[in-house]
């Protein structure tokens, strides 16, 4: 070990090398640039595989140019329309022309599906209608009839009377906007009002806001449960002799080596109505055979299974912080007359706070994104906001709405993080 006087500080080096003529900023920047250069592969990796895709997906939540690109003439013609009654003839002509062309190129389906998301039922109006429009166009050509706006107005309203009303046209016009807030409005349970504009949905249709709240509640609850269960475990491991601590640590880590689905299904076997726990309680006479506890397919099941799955994320940081607390502190507190509870509250607990903060934040953020476990064991309460995001990504393919929901979730988590930083201070988080 070097003594204090031998330590060379950066200032000393710079004074000694004064004769080399390099501007001060370059001297300061040189090593930093080199260090940054070393981090470049990681930065590139993060940008390409994480930041880039995330930004491009989040952009979809407010930018949807596909319909405007697919039906440019219709959109241009609709700009002349006042939104009342049926639109003028040239709108009919433009729309019919583009529908017929897109149908022949097999690109109309995608457009129809997108318009259907704005107004449900438009898919079959467009697809069914356009099939007959292709036939009408062929017949008109064979008969030598000119297919002008008046012809198409008559034909389209003849095919489907709804084309004579403003609704499908408003749907087309709304769907054709390149930049739109409708995904965000939908994600907050608003819908298009009858007069245009947006109004809050009727109560039986509101879904996303209640799910956001439920997700928040479940995540907070699970985090608290993990803390209550995990704190004593972490303390036990941290204070055990090394050999026993290793075994206990292994037990905490064991669930990680088991598939998520197997773990969840095991809880079903244990907790179900005819399951191990209920059978045991009936056998020892705690409950009667018809008084079996409902512990799964409800909120209780969600809390139990999620707490088990997420427990290690709280125990591990807590354990590593607790290991760094010398046991002598508790002895000192006791020798100064503190009761065990006082010593725990005033000496031990404050020192573990960085671990508590890290563990809780980790558990909470992971809990917010969980959906397979609650879906399997939560019964009718097992639906969280991530289920709907997964549904829109995988099944409905409505990535705009999925992106809006994800953006709101991300915004919420970031807001919580900022609040946490203000209240507790993020630099107080530590892993020991």
């Amino acid at each position: 070990m070097r003594s204090e006087s031998e330590v060379v500080t950066p200032e000393d080096t710079s004074t000694r090398q004064q004769p080399v003529a390099r501007p001060r900023w370059r001297r300061a920047l040189g090593p930093r640039l080199r260090a940054a250069g070393l981090a470049l592969p990681l930065v590139a990796f993060v940008v390409v595989t994480f930041a880039g895709p995330m930004v491009s997906l989040l952009t979809k939540s407010f930018h949807e140019p596909e319909i405007a690109d697919a039906l440019p003439e219709t959109m241009a013609a609709l700009r002349q329309w006042d939104g009342e009654g049926a639109p003028p003839d040239d709108v009919f002509a433009a729309t019919a022309g583009e529908f017929v062309a897109a149908r022949n190129e097999r690109t109309l389906g995608r457009t129809a599906n997108r318009v259907n998301r704005v107004v449900s039922g438009m898919r079959s109006v467009i697809m069914g209608g356009s099939r007959l429009m292709v036939e009408a166009a062929a017949e008109a050509e064979a008969a030598g009839v000119t297919t002008d706006g008046a012809f198409w107005r008559e034909t389209m309203i003849g095919i489907d009377a709804r084309w004579g009303t403003p609704e499908p046209w408003r749907a087309l016009r709304d769907a054709g906007q390149r930049f739109t807030a409708r995904h965000y409005l939908k994600a907050l349970d608003f819908e298009r009002g009858p007069e245009g504009g947006y109004v809050r949905q009727a109560e039986e249709w509101r879904i996303y806001v209640p799910l956001f709240w439920r997700t928040l509640k479940v995540s907070l609850g699970v985090t608290m449960l993990c803390l209550v269960v995990g704190y004593p475990i972490a303390h036990l491991i941290a204070t055990s002799p090394p050999r026993r601590a290793n075994v206990l640590l292994l037990l905490v880590l064991l669930p990680f080596w088991t598939s998520l689905l197997v773990r969840t299904t095991s809880w079903i076997v244990l907790l179900q109505n005819q399951g191990v726990v209920n059978d045991f309680l009936v056998a020892i006479g705690v409950i009667g055979d018809d008084g079996r506890l409902a512990m799964i397919y409800n909120m209780t099941g969600t809390f139990i299974a999620m707490t088990h799955v997420l427990l290690p994320f709280l125990v591990l940081p807590l354990y590593s912080v607790m290991r760094s607390i010398p046991p002598a502190y508790m002895s000192a507190a006791a020798s100064l007359g503190a009761t065990p509870l006082q010593a725990l509250r005033r000496v031990y607990w404050p020192q573990t706070l960085p671990g508590v903060g890290a563990g809780c934040l980790l558990t909470f953020i992971l809990a917010i994104g969980y959906y397979i476990t609650p879906a399997l064991v939560g019964g009718q309460s097992g639906q969280l906001i991530s289920n709907m995001i997964a549904y829109h990504v995988q099944t409905s393919l409505n990535w705009g709405l999925a992106a809006a929901l994800a953006a709101l979730l991300l915004g919420g988590v970031t807001a919580l993080y900022v609040v946490y930083d203000r209240l507790v201070g993020i630099d107080r988080i530590g892993l020991g």
């Binding site: 449900s120 898919r123 590593s320 289920n387 409905s396 393919l397």
Partner: protein
């Protein structure tokens, strides 16, 4: 000094473990269905067929994949998925298609066709029946679409376990919603599909009016009001394998289910379950070829082989899903492994079709998202 170094090492290890475990723990919840690496082409010709796994996939392999390979020398690689077009669309848009043939429902095949991610099938590739029946007349109505070739008819029914449901047996779809005469918990799939139809049928709506009524706000409210009456007693299931398990465990006394899964439990596992066919909702299963696959010719040959009556009857020799061709229905015989008669278990047996509903894919294509949201909102209350 050494103790401190040891502590730093230990905490570093813990952090590393935590991060590794976090990544491992995240994989299943984010990925959903697992993506498998495409099987390398070893010079031999092979195609990848994506299907639903379980006893159904097994029936397909034994029923006609093996005969296809024997006839053409083209190997068939099976992959499992959980439905949905997301992966197909991703492959087509990225220009790297490694799925060739997909087993899907009509609503998906129509949507996929509209979106251009599935190949349009020329009806000429469909082979005639064993006695020369032209394909166009031999296929049951509405089983084929522009991109999808119908292979089978399956049904959503409800089944009960007579060991846990004592007393007079339920016989109609009304009984499923009758908690007074048939107390106990019910299993239902956690989706609006079929459940809305069941609710209206049980409320006394004639079969042919179900979808018209569901298109009106009043009809929809009526369906949800009917579901309200049993909501507190429902155990919601997600995967087709769950209902037989729920019935066997006594978690529920009756459950909606796919008829093939209940058949499997009855015939292969000897469970005493009974199916109530009244109000069964029939739907069609299809095969489609993924657009732009580099193995298009082989994939179409596979489709054409699968569309033979013998292939469909081959599947029906293992699982109770009905061939989509009339001539295939005529070939239904016995379960290959147990020798059980298949015809009594078939959803298309006239005995089982006294009251049935054909699922309306057009209605569901139009309203699926809306219904999903309304259903989720209803569940959350």
């Amino acid at each position: 000094m050494r103790a401190a170094a040891g502590r730093i090492l230990a905490s570093g290890l813990v952090v590393a473990l935590a991060v590794a475990a976090m990544l491992a723990g995240c994989a299943p919840q984010e990925g959903g269905a697992e993506l498998e690496a495409p099987v390398a082409d070893s010079g031999d010709r092979s195609i990848t067929v994506v299907s639903w796994g379980g006893s159904y996939a097994r029936a397909c392999v034994l029923g006609y994949h093996e005969s296809f390979t024997a006839e053409t020398g083209i190997e068939v690689n099976m992959e499992d998925y959980n439905g949905g077009l997301a992966q197909i669309r991703a492959q087509v848009e990225a220009g790297s298609v490694h799925w060739d043939v997909v087993d899907l429902g009509v609503s998906e095949s129509v949507t996929g066709c509209d979106e251009g991610v599935l190949e349009v099938v020329d009806p000429a590739v469909l082979p005639p029946g064993p006695n020369g029946e032209p394909a166009a007349e031999d296929f049951l109505p509405e089983t084929n679409t522009e991109c999808g070739v119908g292979t089978l008819l399956y049904s959503t029914i409800y089944a009960y376990n007579p060991e846990t449901l004592t007393g007079p047996p339920p016989t109609t779809i009304r009984d499923f919603f009758d908690l007074e005469r048939f107390p106990g918990r019910r299993g239902m799939r956690r989706v609006p599909d079929v459940n809305l139809e069941f609710a209206l049928l049980a409320d006394g709506v004639p079969n042919e009016q179900v979808y018209d009524l569901l298109s009106t706000p009043e009809g929809l409210d009526r369906a949800f009001r009917k579901l309200d009456t049993i909501k507190d007693e429902v155990v919601w299931w997600e995967a087709g394998a769950q209902p037989p398990q729920l019935l066997a465990d006594g978690e529920v006394v009756m459950s909606t289910a796919y008829n093939g899964r209940i058949f499997n439990a009855q015939v292969l596992e000897g469970q005493p379950f009974e199916i109530v066919w009244d109000g069964q909702v029939l739907d069609r299963g299809q095969l489609a070829v993924v657009a732009d696959t580099p193995r298009r010719e082989d994939a179409l040959r596979f489709m054409s082989h699968a569309a033979r009556s013998e292939s469909m009857a081959g599947v029906a020799g293992y699982i109770a899903y009905s061939p989509a061709r009339r001539s295939g229905q005529a070939l239904i015989d016995r379960q290959v492994e147990t020798g059980a008669e298949m015809w009594p278990h078939m959803p298309t047996n006239p005995e089982n079709m006294k009251s049935f509903l054909m699922a309306d894919w057009e209605w569901w294509s139009d309203h699926k998202d809306e219904m999903q949201e309304r259903f989720a909102a209803w569940l959350a209350r």
